[in-house]
């Protein structure tokens, strides 16, 4: 390449690499469509994308309208609220919706001679196409349009602020993700981080009820805190973005420019934070977590495996394995305790002093136990609908072992039923303490309802686990959900189950006797058990038919 100077060569190489990466993403997408499962996934993603598009465009229109309205009313300072909404959405939505993203690992690209600049750009490009970024950009652009309609002369300035605000959000989101990625790279820190994160999310749930309960007594103090916080928010990026536009309207250009400069500085700071992390990745940091060997205890006792009376040894072995997996999975455990936590949140919310309108559950405490039971079953479907997801490469062991898949599935279903039973007992006690003792007829009707819903969910879950498997990492938070196909089928099944449940309870209510509901649910439970049995009998054949798909999906690194 004698005729090309080094600068041009570098630029050419970067262009070639970036287009190669874009091509790679495109090919990955196309190749995923080769299988039926891939096509179904695409269809599901398409539906989700339509929802996102509506959310993005609808939100953009609403933001534009609201911005126009605020300016028309002479209250441009309300723009602050919109910028804060966009900011929170942009930063929090990706965490909540990791299942919808592609989660491409750009660090895989480091084996290629990618320049640091290209690597940084690729990371930003991945972030820019994240649904949160696209929706956030559309919303903030809506504000630009709304403001510009009212004050056309401000369009260039508003556009500039929009660009700086979006750049900040993009860089900040990527920075947070890059640092979280670093902490999540090691299993132990990943689990600690995950538990802390969920505790944080759970503690957010308590803010409302607690401020409702103690808010009145502490109102002067709260007001003082709000007074202090108001100017502070003005010094943070969403407040600065709003202020830059507001000051441009008045117009007080020195203040507007200083707000813009500060916003720009925040963006640069986020960029620096991202740069530090990406540079470490680029230089090939080592996050090895192998521990030193511990001294060998001399007199070791043999640790016997569990036994399950009435069940074969392999069933007990798989049952033990499943329980151990769950006990070691902070994320899964937290998911399972959520229903109990929800009961507490609703109860605290209802205890707000001085409020007449108490929560739904306080007005109808009889429904607390059935609702908690339904919520528990719903949470459990995460495990039931993708029952081999956590086994990963271990699925090969199941196929190579002399154990029938019926036994394996039985052990897994048994584990899930055991969890549900334990949860139900805890929920019953919680309801009794927090609300009132669940009445006998309601308790029995709930159990009858579960007898109907559980086998049906397990039957469908067992089939979905074979037909739409997705590898899961029990130690990770976010993205650890079943496939989109499974999610859609599961949603349809829940609609059917809930629809039938509502119909049954409506009939019972019409006749004024809740035991009728129990009777009808028991009849439905009989049908549901037959369906479960019918599918269960076919598990070995289905597992053999699906063995290649299952092994391919779960053993993929």
């Amino acid at each position: 390449m004698a005729g090309i100077d080094i600068m041009n060569e570098g630029r050419l190489r970067r262009r070639t690499q970036l287009s190669a990466i874009a091509w790679l993403r495109w090919r990955l997408f196309l190749n995923a469509l080769r299988t039926t499962q891939g096509k179904l996934e695409f269809l599901s993603r398409l539906l989700v994308s339509i929802a996102f598009t509506i959310l993005g465009l609808g939100g953009s229109f609403a933001m534009g309208l609201l911005a126009f309205f605020c300016l028309s009313q002479g209250k441009p300072q309300w723009l602050t609220l919109f910028f804060w909404i966009i900011f929170f959405f942009w930063q929090i939505f990706p965490v909540m919706a990791t299942a919808f993203g592609n989660n491409a690992d750009s660090s895989d690209l480091l084996r290629f001679p990618l320049s640091y600049g290209s690597y940084f750009l690729v990371r930003l490009a991945y972030g820019a196409f994240d649904p949160a970024s696209v929706i956030g950009s559309l919303w903030s652009f809506g504000i630009v349009v709304g403001v510009s309609f009212r004050k056309p002369a401000l369009f260039p300035w508003t556009l500039l602020v929009f660009l700086a605000f979006d750049a900040f959000n993009l860089l900040f989101m990527q920075m947070i993700f890059a640092w979280v990625e670093r902490w999540l790279a090691q299993r132990r820190t990943r689990e600690i981080m995950g538990i802390l994160f969920v505790l944080l999310v759970l503690s957010f749930q308590l803010i409302g009820p607690l401020t409702g309960r103690y808010g009145k007594r502490a109102r002067p103090k709260v007001n003082k805190v709000v007074e202090v916080l108001a100017p502070v928010q003005g010094m943070l990026p969403p407040g600065l973005a709003a202020d830059a536009i507001v000051q441009g309207i008045y117009p007080q250009w020195p203040v507007a420019l200083s707000s813009f400069a500060l916003l720009f500085a925040f963006a640069a700071l986020a960029g620096c934070g991202l740069h530090v992390r990406l540079l470490a990745q680029y230089r090939g940091e080592n996050l090895n977590e192998s521990a030193a060997a511990s001294p060998l205890p001399r007199d070791r006792q043999l640790r016997l495996g569990w036994s399950l009376p009435g069940f074969a040894t392999p069933v007990a072995a798989v049952f033990e394995k499943e329980v151990r997996y769950l006990l070691r999975s902070g994320p899964m455990l937290i998911t399972l305790i959520m229903p109990i936590f929800a009961l507490l949140v609703f109860r605290l919310g209802a205890m707000n002093s001085g409020r007449r309108s108490v929560s739904f559950l306080t007005r109808a405490p009889d429904l607390a136990f059935p609702l908690a039971a339904a919520y528990m079953l719903l949470m459990l479907t995460n495990l039931v609908y993708n029952t081999f997801g956590g086994d990963a490469g271990g699925i090969q062991f199941f196929y190579a072992s002399p154990v029938s898949f019926r036994d394996i599935v039985l052990a897994k279903n048994l584990t899930h039923v055991s969890i549900l039973v334990v949860e139900l007992i805890v929920a019953w006690i919680a309801v009794a303490f927090l609300y009132s003792h669940p009445a006998l007829d309601i308790t029995v009707a709930t159990l009858a309802g579960l007898l109907f819903a559980v086998p049906l969910n397990f039957a469908v879950g067992n089939v979905l686990s074979l037909y739409s498997p997705k590898r899961l990492d029990y130690s990770k938070f976010g993205g650890q959900r079943a496939s989109q196909t499974t999610a859609l089928v599961g949603l349809l099944l829940q609609l059917v189950v809930v629809g039938m449940g509502v119909s049954v309870f409506s009939i019972a209510r019409y006749f004024g006797n809740s035991w009728i509901a129990t009777l009808l649910l028991l009849v439905l439970a009989g049908v549901s058990l037959c369906v479960y049995r019918m599918i269960f009998k076919r598990m070995d054949r289905l597992a053999l038919q699906r063995r290649e798909t299952l092994v391919a999906a779960l053993c993929r690194a």
Binding site: L296, L304, A400, S475
Partner: protein, 272 residues
């Protein structure tokens, strides 16, 4: 081969769409043989071993292990064989001890025996010093040793190993080799695939070579050597010809059989 074969296949075929990965192979492995199954990348080794162990369904043909048809007696066959597949088939979120215990019980051992053998195997493969460590945190070599231990916990009559020495250090490889030789001494049959031809040459009494899905050679090392030497000699300097007076190595037999030769001198002139 006089004795009834431990492993035999008839016209074993596997198609993936248009591609024929394994094309009607007829394997015969006698009891007590240490059998090496060789082939270039993509030749069909892993596909064959997956079919032999029930991890993949054949498109056509028949497999018999220990005289039992694999399709109709899958569970009976699986009870008597041990497998270390390509992906090792481990459960990452168990400790090594829990995994071995689990494996033992899945193969029908009672709790006491499973626990006893778990302890013995962990000591043998030198993994007992980190009892609380999860399998997912093991190094690749440690995982290989654990997978091997799980494959033998029930004392299988036949052991299938897909690339057992890949990524394993010399010390661990030594441990594994001595375990395998011990099994052979006790009458077990071992079927392994490996790219490390020196190891195969040292361990295996019999070898088969698969190339583009077809079985191109099968027999003892001496039989293969004689067969290859009877063919047209290869040109000097192609890596497949032994020095004068020396026996042909397995690598040379392999290169001659699959038609591989070192061609870098003529091609890829832009390298280096």
């Amino acid at each position: 081969m006089d004795a009834a074969p431990t492993i035999s296949t008839q016209s074993l075929t596997r198609r993936f769409g248009e591609l024929i990965a394994v094309d009607g192979i007829d394997l015969r492995v006698a009891p007590g043989q240490f059998f090496g199954f060789l082939g270039p990348n993509g030749a069909g080794k892993s596909t064959t071993i997956k079919m032999l162990t029930g991890l993949l369904a054949p498109s056509a043909g028949r497999i018999e292990i220990l005289g039992l048809d694999l399709t109709t007696h899958a569970v009976d066959v699986k009870r008597q064989i041990g497998v270390v597949p390509e992906g090792m088939a481990l459960f990452g979120r168990l400790t090594g001890s829990e995994f071995l215990n689990f494996a033992g019980r899945m193969y029908g051992l009672d709790r006491q025996t499973a626990a006893q053998r778990t302890a013995e195997l962990l000591d043998f493969v030198e993994l007992s010093d980190q009892p609380k460590k999860l399998v997912t945190d093991y190094s690749h070599g440690m995982q290989k040793k654990l997978a091997m231990a799980a494959a033998v916990i029930h004392g299988p009559k036949v052991l299938f190993l897909d690339e057992p020495f890949e990524g394993v250090d010399a010390i661990a490889a030594g441990t594994l080799k001595s375990m395998l030789q011990g099994m052979i001494a006790h009458g077990a049959t071992i079927f392994l695939t490996s790219h490390v031809l020196e190891i195969v040459e040292r361990l295996c009494s019999h070898v088969a070579i698969i190339h583009r899905g077809r079985l191109v050679a099968q027999g003892s090392l001496e039989e293969l050597r004689a067969g290859v030497e009877a063919q047209t000699p290869a040109a000097d300097g192609d890596g497949a010809t032994p020095a004068l007076g020396e026996k042909m190595t397995l690598e040379q037999i392999f290169l001659r059989t699959v038609g591989g030769s070192r061609r870098t001198e003529q091609e890829l002139s832009w390298l280096g």
